[in-house]
Each structure stands twice: as structure tokens, then as C-alpha cells.
Amino acid sequence: MRNGKETLNYILKRLVLMIFTFLVIFVISFILIRLLPLDAATGVGKDPDTFYNMQVALGRMVKANDGTYHKTPVFEQLGAFIKQLFAPNTYKTTDGVVHTTSRWGYSWNISWLSAPDKLLVKQLPPTIIINIYSIIVSVPIGLALGTFMALEKNKWPDNVLSVLIMVLISVPSFVYAFLLQYFFAYVLKILPPLRADFDGNWFSLDMFKSMILPVVSMSFGSIAGYARYTRAELTEVLTSDFMLLARTKGLSRAQATIRHAFRNSLVPIFPMILGEILSILSGSIIIENIFAVNGVGGLFLQSIQMKDYDVFQFVSMFYIAIGLVGGLVVDVSYGLVDPRIRMGGGKA
């Protein structure tokens, strides 16, 4: 970051672009989900009017003169949704009590009448905790393994670990999940197979123990990824000319590696770690199902499958916002990690 103003301009430009991208995705998501067909459940003695009248009241359908129901034009729905986002969201009942409604609408299919933001927030803690534990476990182990492999490059420990890492990368995480659960929970019986019930404390010993298996399942892939990248980067740096210079200047191998090589090798790895930190808010559908985590892993997919429009809209926008911010932060972080990388410099 040679020039603070340049960087600021770059960030501002990216912010504007980010908002624009966010809005485009918002509109596309809104349109796509609302184009899915809406049909009442049918059955003997069922009155589909209840369902259709509900859709009419929610502005998703209109009743034609001939009594048939049709979907409200999607842009009309979009207008109403945007209006709802910014219009006052309180009303007073006859007893004088002021009620607040959800600007993002409500879940009608996943959790009746839950506000999408509250629904997400309620299910976030176990996902976040598992992800944080996973990062705490995977980053140091991954970096340490990668460093060790680089230092032992082409020797048998490196070869053995490389094979192991390839296996870990190739095998999907749910396979480890099943195996770990089976051996540690049901064969050895030393760890709980499912996430413990929440008793008011997410950091109790029972809760911690019950999260070990999902954390380990999720960490294997990350450990392998970090180890592979670190090895590759460090190997390249260790063979650089400046490393030779450092050694000729009298630094020991360890000093040169830690002070120079390792730091340089972190340039591409640090944004990777940053990206992982930003992704702590997203859960793995399969891992969460296997360990009954009840996190946010399946919420997004479920909202699509169940046509829970408002939940889908909020959850997708939430993750898109995180993704966009994450992208920006990662990009900016390059400049922080390595001052040689210049932000928004335009033409040289």
C-alpha cells in the first residue's frame, strides 16, 4: 500500500461495485424464487382457498374475476417487497400495544411465523462455534504440517504426508464424518455421536465434547488444504535467491526460514485463512445433518425446496453480503500482508 489515498479510492470503488452487485443479485434471486410455481396442497375434503387466500393476502397471487388464482407479476411483488423493507413496521392493536413486524417477512414453511433474521440468528451459534473450533484446529496444524513437509521436501515424511493429504483432499468430508462417528462414538464410545442439547451454555464441557467429531470432520479438508499450500509456497520461497542471501549473511536455517521464508509464503495463504474466518457463518449441510448440529447448513437449501420466499431472500442476501465483503477484505488484505502489492494503481 504505497498510497493511502489510492487504496481508499480503490476500496470506495469496490464498495460501490459491491452494492451494485448486491442489488443485481438481490433482484435476480427475488425473481427466480418467485417464478417457482405456487400450488395448494390438494386432498379429499381439502379447501385450497385457504392457501390461495393466504397468498393473495401476502401479495403473491391475485384472484381473477373467474375465481381462479394467478401469480402477481413478479416486479409488482418486488416493488411490494422493497416497500416493506423501508416502510414503518409497527402497528398498534386496540389494547394500545405496539407490535413490530419483520421487514423481511416471515417463514411460512420452515418455522411458522419466524422472522428470517431471527431464524438465522437462532441457528447460527452452533455453526459459528464449530467453524471457529475448526479454524483453531486446522490453521496451525495445516501450517505446521506444510512447513514440515517443505523442510523435509522429497524425503519420506514428505512423501507419506503428501499421499495422506491427497487422500484427505479427495475424500469428501461426510465420509470422514461417518467413519469418525462410527469409530469414536459407537465402537470406542469415547465421544458423543451427536451435538449435545443446548442447556443455556454453548461452551459447556458436554457441548465441547459433542462438537469434537464435527469439528474434526470439518478440519481434515482444511488441514490438508493449508498443508498443501504452505508446502508449495514455502518450497518455492526456500529456493529463492534471497534465502540464499539470508543464509550467506549468517542467518541460521531456522532463522532464515521463520523470519523470511515463512512470512513470504504467507502472502497467498493469509487471504485463504481470512476467507475461512469469514466463512464461519456458513455451515455444512451434510456434516450438520450427520451430527444433528441444527445449524444454518441446510437453511438455504431448505428455503428453496420449501419455497419459503422470505427466508430464502434474507438468507441468500446475508450470505451474498458476506461473500462480497469477504472478497473485498481478502483483496485489501493482500496489500496489508505484502506491501509490494499495490491496490487500485491502475496503469503502472
Partner: protein, 953 residues
């Protein structure tokens, strides 16, 4: 899963919820609270004193150290240290609500199954070989007071003349019933709860249970729908003195020649709900002017429907596309409410004279001309009046119901909804539809009670909707009030909930529930992953586990296996509509129109060995050839199963009777009298030889056909099988089985056709069935966009007549057999309804008319009397006739009667080992425990927490 409660019965009786579940794949959750009996709990002292019934159990003999004081295995539940009998179970999906006013799926009725009670309930009888009805929230059986009500009061609920029995019922309430907080439950609670259930401003999906099912509370529908515009016949609202419409409507008039209006009943004394305005217009021939007027009205409707209604998304698009002139239009195609003002706005043409046809288009029509013509018709057809405004009588209008239907005051002194308080512990139901006491008891095995103050406090006004968070995950335990044997004590939404004994429940002290409800808590976890649930079960941490087809290979012979039968029959539904198939097929050599051939479909049906299908692809379902399986009862009091009646048994013969043997029924030398052989019932409709003959005949007919797009030599029959989940292993196995059988029979038929010289030796015809994922396949099917699907209808086991709606009712929206959809009015069938061995003149009716008659028969006569027997036999005769009629079309081809298999832990014991209709294995009410929690922990420890081997035998 094993826990079954009366709720299931309530589901079945009141909602008759049909499910079009994706076969094998897309099913709902694993828990099926539906189908049997009650909730359990042991009375505190009772449970304590009740001996553990270990002696009889294989499991008990394996108890290593019963009585160990170690922490119970179920202590995951968190609070089991003081609990003796904990039932550990799971759901695979999360219920979004458990409010009895809004629930829709079986998972959503899971919690109320423990925490709420119906007025009546079914439980295992003392011999454990049948069921009995007991009173729960009612203190006694319903009392028929129909003939004790004053005429003035009856009039308020729309009754006229002398009221027959079965319309007005008093329900005495249980005086000991109370909420979990100890507050007494009185008549007011029921009235106020029903008021909210039917609240027109609220979204209550169960409201229709009180006006669309067999239990029809007077004015309930009008109350629930007020505020809505409803298209109604104006005949009921026209003031015959002033001619004005005495209703709040928008002033627009609508004409629909295909709808019934009470006006037609004023013209034809024998009119019923199938008689429409078209019938009046078509028969208006009393004078030339009247005839012309009637024809002009029809011309205008036909012309408008043809020219000005958009049919691009209509199910009848193909038919409309074929219309070239007005006279091509058929009356049955014109089921539209047409605003008569449209005749002023659009250029609608009609004939001017009788000598012309509609195609003359010689006169431009208008709303005024329509009114004049209708006035002429009404006057000519001897309607109720000759006034100038009588054109209004056959028309329809959008009636606003805002002020029409009041709730009525507390004592029922003003006209209102037919539920009133008689005293603090008695409510009176005024029904719009006659019911027997037995049917009413069945209908009241559920309840609509909610804690109204809490319910109201949790209301949210969002947009145009009023909804409540009562009994939702969002409101949690504090947002719900139990009144049944158990109460909700703790929950983590989406993860687990704990249900414990409700000490305030009357049943623990009334002396009527001794020995029932042994368990004192239920710990339910949400475990979405099947394999995880299996491991939990094998480790002893779950007391039941639903088996899939793969698990059956390991545990299919387990002594702990139970099979729960469902009312659903899984069928293949073929699209037999030739135009739609033609539209779908890319070319004659990539053929689909063959499905329009009945012989071909019949051959495919005969080519499937359903016994193998059931054993190879399902987890416990059994081969089946009819629409209504063994669960359906035609006589609830005695438990008479429809399939066991002579009529029910006869259906197989009516469909497969002559399809045994191996002689070709199409061969010139075939003599039906000597060659026809009955097809064994054990073969379940499978005869490969006969299948080959029928497929060959179908192919031959189609090869020789002159229809557009008919099959040609060397064609591939390319069928698209729309399924909910094409990745599901079960679905894949099912499709592989069906595909193989179809290929086998087509190949055999092709060989036969070559031998007969119909096909040259170098020619071939093959068949290919490809799965197409379609989560909305039933809606696709109702629009005809399919070749074949699995359709899986089920319904109230006590109301098989009602289920025939899905096949026989002409305006049923979701008919899966597209080729028959909407034709139920036109296709006639002879049924020997009176059982005299002959088809009398009045025994040839359309499917729809038979269906209406079937559902209109009410068996109010004394059981066993001649009148009752006659009516009962008539029901059976019509029901079996319709069932055989549908099956003989081979558009709906049954494969299996659905059942699920589950396995119980050694800890628990069902009330009975034999599945009993309506109560299953006795449900939670009758469940007993072989081990206490502590003993179970010790038992598990002695087996190293691994019971996998024990469950195999």
C-alpha cells in the same frame, strides 16, 4: 416409528388428508403419529408400583444386571434422573408448528398427539383383538337432540320443516379436564377456540375440517369465508317481490352454463347438483322464440369462450386448439364465470334466427340482449316468476360475505355458527350434514381447543393476514398450553423436545385409565440422517427406528419388527390422453401415443409381478391390485373391512376374472366360455402370457391405426416417468423393476407380432422408461405434462366412499389420470346397485353421479334392520362397482398397499403384536416397558452398548 396416537385418527377422519407422496423417495418424515391410539403416561404411583413386564420378553432374559443405579441411557434427555420410563425417539424433520388450527403434515401433529385429547378416542379392547371407543374430553357419548329443538331455533341454522335425526348433537364435556396450569376447561373454551379456528381473518389450514369433511358445522363455511368474495347463484338472493338482489355484491352478473344453480331445481323437479343451466337452455323448446333465445345465449357463451378466453395454460388447451367454428364448441368445455358486461365490451356474435346456426355470426350480441333472451327463457321454462327482472334468476354474482354470517351470541339466541354452549359443560353442534352417532364420535376423536388468551397474545398482523405464534418453535414452550396426558416441558427448536407427564391431566385420577400411559416422559430428537438414527438405535439410545429397504435385509426377520399399514395405495398413473401424448412425443418413432391404447396399458399391468415388486423394492409394503386397501372400513362399529366383504372381494374378479390361463383371448379360435380361466388372486394381477397378448394386441391396433402420430415399426416407446426424487435408491430400484418388466413384455409381444406377420423379422419395437425428477409432479400430472407417475392416494380409513372423489368426481382438481380427468360426467358405468343380479334401467349412470349417490347415503336406520341392510349393501355395491370401473380403465394401475416397517427396542412392548385397524398396535396408551431407565442402562452396559446383533433375530 412406533408412537401412535389418536391424533392419527383425527387426521384421517377430519382431514382425509391425501398425500401424493413421491414413491419411496419423497416421503414426509419418519414419524407417523397417525393411525392408532392414545397417549400414555403412567400415573405417578401407578407407574411406580407397576411391575416391569420383563418376564415375557426375550429381551428381559438378557438383562444382565437390572436395577443398576447408573445414570440412565436416556440421560441425554437431561432430566431423566427422576424419570422411570422414558421413551426415546426421533423425527427426521422439524415440525414448523403444532398448532391444531394450522398443522398440515404428520410431523406437525406429533406434539399434540401427546399433549392434547380428542372428545373421544379409540383404544385396544380388553381382549386386544379389536378396538373400543371411549370418552375423553367428552364425559359421555353424543346425544341426538335433533327433534327437541324449537323450529325457530332450527331456522337460524338454515333447517326447514321437520328435522331428521342426526343433525343436532349435544356433547357433554369432561368436568375434570383442565389446562396444564390447572385452569378448568369449559364450554367457553371450545366455543372461543372454534371461533378462532374459523376466524375468516386468520390463516387456519384446519378450518376446512369443520365444513369440507364429513363433519359440517352449520354456517361454519360461511363464517370462515366471510370477507371473501364468493361466486354464488343469485337465485338465493333475488327478492321475488322487488327483483333486487338482497346481498352485498358488486353489481356484476356472471353466467356459467356449466354450474348448478338452485334455479334449475325450480324448472326440473328431478334436478340434482349435476343439472346445470345448460340443461335448461338445451331443453327450452316450448316455443320458437324461447328456443331461439336459449340458442342465442348458448351461442354467445360458446363464442366468448372460444374467442376471448385465453386457453394457453388451460388443461383443455388441446381441445380448444382444435376448435374451428362455434359449433365445434361443447358445453362441457365452457365452465367459466363470464361477466355479462363482457358482451358489451367484446364483439360477440350469435345467430339472429332459428334457421341459422351459431356459425352464421349474423348478430352482434350485448348484455342487454342476453338479459332479454334469458328473460324469455325463464318465462318459457315456467320459472318462479314472469317479472321483467327474472333474467337475474339463472345468473351468478360475487357475493361479499362480510356481514352475512355472524358468530351468534353465547347462548345461540341469534343466528350464527352451529356450535353453541348449552351450559358450562355441554356444547351443542348444529350440523349441516346428517351424521350418525358413530360417525360423529369418529369425527370428534380430534379437537380444536387452544388456550385462547395465549393464542390471542401471540397474534401477529402481517400484511393482510392475522396469524398466531401459538404452538410454534418461535414461541417455544411458553407459547403453548397442553391439556392431555403429557405436556411440553422443554425444547430447542429444530433439535429436540421433551414431553413429560402432565400431572394435571384428569386421566391419572379418574380410575378409567388404570394401566395405561406407562411412560412418564418422551424425549424426541431431530435426527435428519437415517444412518445416524440407526446407530443411535443400535446403541440403545432410541426406542424405535424406521427401516428402509436396505435395513430390511438385515432386520427384516427381527422379532422386534413391526409393520404399520397405511391407507395409501401406490399406483402407476398413466397419461392416456392421446392429444396430450401426441403433443409430448417428438416423432412417431419416439412414441408415446401408445399409452392411449387400453389393451397396451392392460398388458403392462398384467406384466408386473407385484409380489416381487413389493419384496424387492419396498420396506414392508404388500402387493396389491385395488384402489382401497385392507385398512378401509365400511362398518366401523363391527370393524367390517371393505376388502373382506363379498363386494370388496369381487372387485379382483371384475378386473382380472378372465385373465388366467395361457390362451390368447384375441386369437380367432378363442372361446371365452371354455378357454377363459380365472386369474389366481395370489398372482396379484400378474400373468406374463396374458400380458404379452394384450401388449401385442395394443401394438397391433396402434400400428394399424390412422390416428396422427401412431406408433410405427422400429419405433421406441419413450416414456418419461416423473418422480419426486430420481436419486433415491428406492425410486431407482422401483423404476429399474418396472422398466425391466415393461421391456420384457414388449419384447415378447414383438416376437409374437413377428410370428403373426404384423411386424417383419427385421423390424422391432422397444420401450424405454426414463426417470425425470419433478418435485411438483402431481401438479404437472394434473396438467397432462407426463407419461407416467406414481400416484399414492390415501384417506380416512372409515370413509372409503369419500376417497373415491379422487377418481370419480368430475370437478376434482388433482385427478392423476389425465385421460379421464373431467370425463367422469360423460363416461357411464353400469352397477348392480340394488344387487338383484341385473342392471336395471336406472343403474347406468356416469361415474360422477354414482359417486354423488354413494356419498349421499346415510345409514341412520337401526343397524341390522332391513332398511339399514339395503342401504349398506347399496353402498358396497356402488363402491365396488366404481372401484372396478376405474381399475378396468387401466389408467391407474395399483402396485402395492403401502406399509412402513420399524423396529422397537427391547425396552418397550406394544399393546398387541397384531396390527389392528384404527388402533395399530395400541399406541402410546397401551405401550408397556420391559425395563426402567436404570435397568435399560445396565442392560446396555452388559452388551457394551451395541445391540446390533440382538436385533437381527
Amino acid at each position: 416409528m412406533k408412537i401412535n396416537k389418536n391424533k392419527g385418527l383425527f387426521i384421517a377422519v377430519l382431514s382425509s388428508a391425501l398425500v401424493l407422496s413421491a414413491c419411496g423417495g419423497g416421503g414426509a418424515g419418519s414419524v407417523n403419529p397417525g393411525s392408532s391410539s392414545e397417549l400414555p403416561t403412567s400415573q405417578g404411583s401407578q407407574a411406580g408400583s407397576q411391575p416391569v413386564s420383563g418376564g415375557s420378553s426375550a429381551a428381559s432374559s438378557q438383562t444382565s444386571t437390572p436395577g443398576s443405579s447408573q445414570a440412565p441411557a436416556s440421560s441425554q434427555g437431561g432430566s431423566t434422573s427422576t424419570l422411570k420410563y422414558t421413551y426415546n425417539t426421533y423425527l427426521s424433520t422439524k415440525p414448523k408448528t403444532w398448532n391444531v388450527h394450522t398443522w398440515e403434515t404428520s410431523d406437525e401433529s406429533y406434539i399434540p398427539a401427546f399433549t392434547e385429547c380428542g372428545f373421544y378416542d379409540l383404544k385396544l379392547n380388553a381382549k386386544k383383538d379389536g378396538y373400543e371407543i371411549v370418552s375423553e374430553m367428552a364425559s359421555d357419548y353424543p346425544i341426538d337432540v335433533s327433534n327437541q329443538i324449537e323450529a325457530e331455533e332450527l331456522a337460524m341454522y338454515g333447517y326447514s320443516g321437520n328435522l331428521a335425526e342426526g343433525y343436532v348433537w349435544d356433547i357433554p364435556l369432561n368436568r375434570n379436564a383442565c389446562w396444564e396450569d390447572g385452569t378448568k376447561i369449559t364450554a367457553n373454551d371450545y366455543i372461543e377456540s372454534m371461533k378462532r379456528q374459523l376466524d375468516p381473518l386468520m390463516v387456519n389450514f384446519r378450518a376446512d375440517s369443520y365444513y369440507s369433511s364429513s363433519l359440517v358445522i352449520a354456517n361454519a363455511d360461511r363464517y370462515a369465508k366471510q370477507g371473501n368474495e364468493i361466486m354464488e347463484a343469485l337465485y338465493n338472493y333475488v327478492n321475488l317481490t322487488t327483483g333486487k338482489v338482497d346481498a352485498d355484491f358488486d353489481g356484476y352478473y356472471y353466467i356459467n352454463i356449466n354450474k348448478y344453480t338452485p334455479y334449475v331445481a325450480s324448472v326440473f323437479s328431478n334436478a340434482d347438483e349435476t343439472t346445470t343451466l345448460y340443461t335448461v337452455l338445451n331443453q327450452c323448446e316450448s316455443s320458437d322464440s324461447a328456443k331461439l333465445a336459449a340458442q342465442r345465449v348458448l351461442d354467445a357463451v360458446y363464442y366468448y369462450c372460444w374467442k376471448f378466453i385465453d386457453h394457453t395454460e388451460s388443461a383443455d388447451k388441446d381441445k380448444w386448439d382444435e376448435i374451428k367454428k362455434v359449433t365445434d364448441v361443447k358445453a362441457e368445455m365452457c365452465d367459466f364465470d363470464i361477466n355479462t358486461e363482457e358482451f358489451n365490451l367484446k364483439d360477440v356474435k350469435v345467430r339472429a334466427t332459428l334457421t341459422e346456426t351459431a356459425d352464421a355470426h349474423s348478430e352482434t350480441y350485448s348484455e342487454q340482449k342476453l338479459q332479454a333472451d334469458l328473460a324469455t327463457v325463464v318465462a318459457a321454462m315456467h320459472g318462479p316468476t314472469n317479472k321483467a327482472w327474472n333474467w337475474r334468476l339463472p345468473l351468478f354474482g360475487k357475493i361479499y360475505n362480510d356481514y352475512e354470517q355472524t358468530w351468534g351470541d353465547e347462548d345461540g339466541a341469534t343466528s350464527g355458527v352451529g356450535i353453541v354452549k348449552v351450559d358450562n359443560y355441554k356444547i351443542r353442534l348444529f350440523l349441516a350434514k346428517q351424521m350418525t352417532a358413530l360417525d360423529l364420535k369418529f369425527s370428534l376423536t380430534g379437537n380444536w381447543l387452544v388456550k385462547t388468551d395465549l393464542y390471542d397474545r401471540l397474534k401477529v398482523n402481517t400484511g393482510g393476514l392475522v396469524v398466531t405464534k401459538y404452538a410454534t418453535p418461535d414461541a417455544g414452550v411458553a407459547g403453548y398450553m397442553s391439556y392431555g396426558p403429557y405436556k411440553l416441558s422443554d425444547m430447542e427448536a429444530g433439535k429436540q423436545f421433551k414431553i413429560v407427564k402432565n400431572e394435571k391431566w384428569y386421566g391419572y385420577s379418574d380410575g378409567k385409565h388404570v394401566g395405561e400411559y406407562m411412560m412418564d416422559s418422551i424425549y424426541t430428537r431431530i435426527i435428519p440422517d437415517h444412518d445416524t438414527a440407526k446407530q443411535e438405535f443400535l446403541a440403545g439410545k432410541l426406542d424405535d427406528f424406521d427401516l428402509n429397504r436396505t435395513d430390511m435385509k438385515t432386520y427384516g426377520n427381527s422379532s422386534r419388527l413391526t409393520r404399520t399399514y397405511e391407507s395409501y395405495t401406490q399406483k402407476i398413473s398413466f397419461n392416456s390422453d392421446r392429444p396430450k401424448l401426441l403433443e409430448r412425443q417428438s416423432s412417431a418413432s419416439n412414441n408415446k401415443t401408445i399409452l392411449a391404447n387400453e389393451n397396451f396399458r392392460k398388458g403392462l399391468s398384467l406384466g408386473m409381478d407385484r409380489n416381487n415388486f413389493a419384496s424387492q423394492t419396498t420396506a414392508g409394503s404388500k402387493a396389491f391390485t385395488a384402489l382401497l386397501n385392507d385398512l378401509y372400513l365400511t362398518e366401523v362399529e363391527t370393524g367390517e373391512m371393505y376388502r373382506n366383504t363379498a363386494q370388496g372381494k369381487a372387485v379382483y374378479n371384475m378386473v382380472y376374472g378372465k385373465l388366467g390361463g395361457d390362451k390368447n383371448p384375441f386369437a380367432p379360435d378363442y372361446n371365452e366360455a371354455t378357454d377363459a380361466t380365472p386369474l389366481s388372486t395370489r398372482s396379484n394381477g400378474f400373468n406374463f402370457k396374458m400380458a404379452t397378448y394384450y401388449v401385442a394386441q395394443g401394438l397391433k391396433e396402434e400400428l394399424e391405426s390412422t390416428e396422427t402420430g401412431h406408433i410405427v415399426p422400429n419405433a421406441k416407446i419413450a416414456l418419461e416417468f416423473r418422480v419426486y426424487d430420481n436419486e433415491s435408491e428406492t425410486t431407482k430400484d422401483m423404476l429399474a423393476f418396472i422398466s425391466q418388466k415393461f421391456s420384457d413384455v414388449v419384447a415378447a409381444a414383438v416376437t409374437q407380432l413377428k410370428e403373426e406377420g404384423v411386424l417383419k423379422s427385421s423390424e422391432n419395437i422397444t420401450i424405454e422408461v426414463k426417470a425425470q425428477k419433478d418435485e411438483d409432479y402431481y401438479n404437472t400430472a394434473k396438467k397432462g405434462g407426463y407419461d407416467m407417475i406414481f400416484s399414492t392416494w390415501g384417506g380416512a380409513a372409515i370413509n372409503p366412499q369419500g376417497l373415491m372423489e379422487v377418481y370419480c368426481k368430475s370437478d376434482f382438481d388433482s385427478t392423476c389420470e389425465y385421460g379421464f380427468k373431467g370425463k367422469q360426467d360423460n363416461v357411464y358405468i353400469k352397477i348392480d346397485a340394488n344387487g338383484n343380479g341385473e342392471f336395471d334401467a336406472d343403474e347406468n349412470k356416469s361415474f360422477n353421479k354414482w359417486y354423488i349417490e354413494l356419498n349421499d347415503i346415510v345409514e341412520t336406520d337401526e343397524r341390522g334392520s332391513a332398511a339399514w341392510t339395503q342401504k349398506h349393501n347399496r353402498i358396497l355395491n356402488i363402491l365396488s362397482g366404481l372401484e372396478a370401473g376405474i381399475l378396468n380403465r387401466f389408467e391407474a394401475v395399483p402396485l402395492v398397499a403401502r406399509a412402513t416397517s420399524s423396529i422397537n427396542s427391547f425396552k418397550i412392548e406394544n399393546g398387541t403384536t397384531q396390527y389392528i385397524n384404527l388402533v395399530g398396535y395400541g399406541g402410546v396408551r397401551a405401550m408397556t416397558f420391559n425395563y426402567t431407565n436404570d435397568q435399560w442402562t445396565a442392560f446396555l452396559k452388559s452388551h457394551n452398548n451395541d445391540l446390533s446383533e440382538l436385533y437381527k433375530d
